[in-house]
Amino acid sequence: MRKLLIIPAYNEAQNIDRVLDDINEHLQGFDILLIDDGSTDSTRELAIKRGVDVISLPFNLGIGAAVQTGYIYAQREGYDLAVQFDGDGQHRADQVDRLLEPLLRDEADMVLGSRFLGENEYQSGLTRMVGIKILSSVISMLIGQKITDPTSGCRATNRRVIEFFSHLYPDDYPEPEALVLLHKAGFRITEVPVLMRQRHMGRSTITAPRAVYYMIKVLLAIFIDMLKKVPS
């Protein structure tokens, strides 16, 4: 069984060493692929120095297209499983195995790592929490299944979803949108609890008006996704 870890990274030179250390220490059996999304710092060089496979996009395409590049690679190289793992140090390598279990038992096609399931006590700002609450209730309603953490980028997919994502992956708000598209195409989604770290380098400067604006855009994108024709 061949497994690929896809790490999208955009200007993560400060974090990349720590992320790769964490992976080396806690994760076995994966090929590591870093997608450098047109970084302007030394992200790419640092990753190459560590002996990781790197795909460098010629310019910044955004998280959706970067992750999709990883799925295209996984599809062409014949990987059986793919895991998305953020390059900013938020995800924990020792949690990845939890994602794999439902896939290996063939109980799901995609497994979503949730910060809010189980014994987790993930701390987050109030606006962000309210936003995630609204988003998760809307998505849960649309796909008829409880989703607690729709913006989590910590997810594992089987071969069938790798094929699907290599052809169709949302650009704008890929995490919540991908859930809707997968549901429409008839794939099975499961959530498992995972632990995440609080963000190291503060980039989370989401102010209330921006959060509201973001919510409106995401909801709009999701409703449009519901109308889209999806190959299944």
Binding site: I35, D53, V54, I55, S56, L57, P58, F59, L61, A65, Q68, T69, I72, Y73, R76, D171
Partner: protein, 117 residues
């Protein structure tokens, strides 16, 4: 023919000629110019023929015929804009695919070079 008609003919004529000139110089692809040609020809027709403008306006219950021209121009603008944004969407999709393919090829190429050395 009053001043207003002459002005209207002049304006539609110049738009039509600029579109044709752009196509002739390969600065505008035919498939993107069809909407422009169609809409300027319609405007030109109504500028020439006051009677048809009045007839059509009456049909729609429009009291002031020139406002029908405004309505038409506005609708053409909306259609052309939707067309343009759809063309841009298609282009940006292709652009994304190209960038992804280039990145994948660069990796495959680097691996081939490594193997040879």
């Amino acid at each position: 023919m009053d001043m207003m008609s002459i002005l209207a003919i002049f304006v539609s004529m110049s738009i039509l000629l600029s579109v044709i000139e752009l196509i002739r110089r390969n600065r505008l692809k035919e498939k993107y110019s069809l909407l422009w040609l169609f809409s300027t020809l319609v405007m030109l027709w109504f500028s020439f023929s006051r009677e048809s403008l009045h007839v059509v306006s009456k049909m729609f219950g429009i009291k002031y015929p020139p406002s029908f021209i405004f309505l038409l121009g506005f609708l053409f603008m909306i259609v052309i804009n939707i067309h343009i944004t759809s063309v841009i969407s298609e282009l940006s999709d292709k652009n994304k695919t190209l960038a992804q393919e280039i990145a994948l090829l660069k990796k495959a190429l680097a691996e081939m070079k490594d193997k040879r050395e």
